[in-house]
Amino acid sequence: MKKLINRPEDVVKEALAGMEALHAELIRVDYESQVIVRADAPVQGKVGIISGGGSGHEPMHGGFVGCGMLDAACPGEIFTSPVPDQMLAATRAVNGGAGVFYIIKNYTGDVLNFEMAAELAAAEDIEIASVVTNDDVAVQDSLYTAGRRGVGVTVLLEKIVGGLAETGASLEAVAEMAQRVNANGRSMGMALTSCTVPAIGRPTFDLDENEMEIGIGIHGEPGCRRVPLASAAEVTEMLVNPILEDLELKAGERVIAFVNGMGGTPQIELYVMANELAKILRGKNITIARSLVGSYITSLEMAGCSITLLRTDDEILKYWDAPVHTPALRWGI
């Protein structure tokens, strides 16, 4: 295992310390509670936005804490959902008297831990609403699965909902926007390699030189199917076609296009993929209104890529464009 780390068991804590040290004006870390909080929290009169999940997906979610996006993030162990105590501490820390909104990714662990946290927070008389993101089209959403995973749209949603919340919108309005964004986004990912969890020391699964996984999640688990290595053009088709179909995007519609690196794929390849995506969308007369190209929701050093398309409109764009100042996303400030 070749990583730039010290002891595996200290990775999460040290990364938090590094984030805090280099972004001291934006965030503070409560090491006792394991929560990353926006420096000026709680912001009175504003819905507090919280998310959380296993570590290993950086910059998500800690890198999205700050003005215009998340008020706090709860980092679990690598690929492990955080515990209710974290969300409860975060809830208290961001409670500005206007309610607190949980952005939860649809994984059993994330859902259950946030659920238990919400139960505890209700006891403290803090009004909680939440959304469970489930944009992954690789998995069938049925009685026969744990439901679709929450992946790329989560990043876009955190920005849009964060932008809305910054205007002092009500908890209901925030919840409504979150539902709308989640309902209009779809994603799919693939991997060229697995990743190595520090505490384990070897890749979670093996892919040989000629194989790739299609329909992956973000926790290093195998995908839906293993297929022979293909060109960027073919891979993009494999990712985008199910998205287009599921989202029923029509000619003339606009999207926010998010080409995401899984952590080990360089920017030049992301742009090759982006070119393929642009060609497909152009061919279908779907306009890219805004874009995000980079490694924002990752799986440690996994080589691979995911694509998210979010059907968009002027209102969503307004909150996408709204100022944001976090370690990983910044504009307008």
Binding site: G54, T80, G109, T145, F205, C224
Partner: protein
């Protein structure tokens, strides 16, 4: 002979040991059909549990089990944290005030655990989860207790059923949890949660003897 609080504590210590020893094995199981953290999660959770045991030396079974529950909730994370945590919490509530557990109590304890896991996780038998070990274990314990068998035999029946249930997960298609994302690729692999459940029950037989 009943299970004393002392024995309960000895059991939990043994669970901590076993989950530490089997950490790599549980990791492998969860790597095949998950994100490879179940072994790490359970080891972390029960290490925290074991640290609390000295302070529980004179506590009743209910308190001990509840403490296990809250500790697991606070340290494990993932799916197994809330599930096992709720299981132990409900078991603790069911065993409130009891210093010793009779055979019928053990059945009630297991029933409370299963109810807790079902209430949280909403899974049923056959979905390739820890319930596929714990449901058969409960049923076997209930049957043995109903037949008037003694504690050791009740625990043995329970543990054997869990083991069989654990193995029965191998050919199952996962329809709950992370493994369900893999669809048919989940077939042929033993469920991590069913395995850790079985390890816990096997440890109970071991420490009871």
């Amino acid at each position: 002979m009943p299970i004393t609080s002392e024995k309960l504590i000895a059991w939990l210590q043994r669970v901590g040991q076993v989950l530490h020893e089997q950490r790599e094995y549980l990791t492998q199981l969860d790597a095949a059909i998950g994100d490879a953290d179940h072994g790490i999660n359970m080891d972390r959770g029960f290490r925290a549990v074991v640290e609390k045991l000295p302070a529980l030396a004179s506590a009743d079974s209910g308190t001990i089990l509840k403490t296990v529950g809250t500790t697991l909730v606070s340290t494990v994370g993932g799916a197994s944290g809330p599930l096992y945590g709720t299981a132990f919490l409900r078991a603790g509530i069911a065993m409130a005030g009891k210093q010793e557990l009779q055979e019928a109590d053990v059945v009630a304890l297991l029933a409370a655990m299963v109810e807790g896991i079902q209430a949280r996780g909403k899974a049923r038998r056959g979905e390739k989860t820890m319930l596929d070990a714990l449901l058969p274990a409960l049923e076997a314990a209930r049957k043995a207790e109903g037949e008037g068998l003694e504690m050791l035999q009740v625990l043995q029946a329970c543990s054997s059923a869990a083991e069989a249930g654990m193995k029965s997960t191998i050919p199952l298609l996962a329809t709950k949890g992370r493994a369900s994302y893999l669809g048919a690729r989940s077939i042929g692999h033993q469920d991590p949660g069913a395995t850790s459940s079985t390890l816990m029950l096997q440890a109970l037989v071991e420490t009871y003897r």
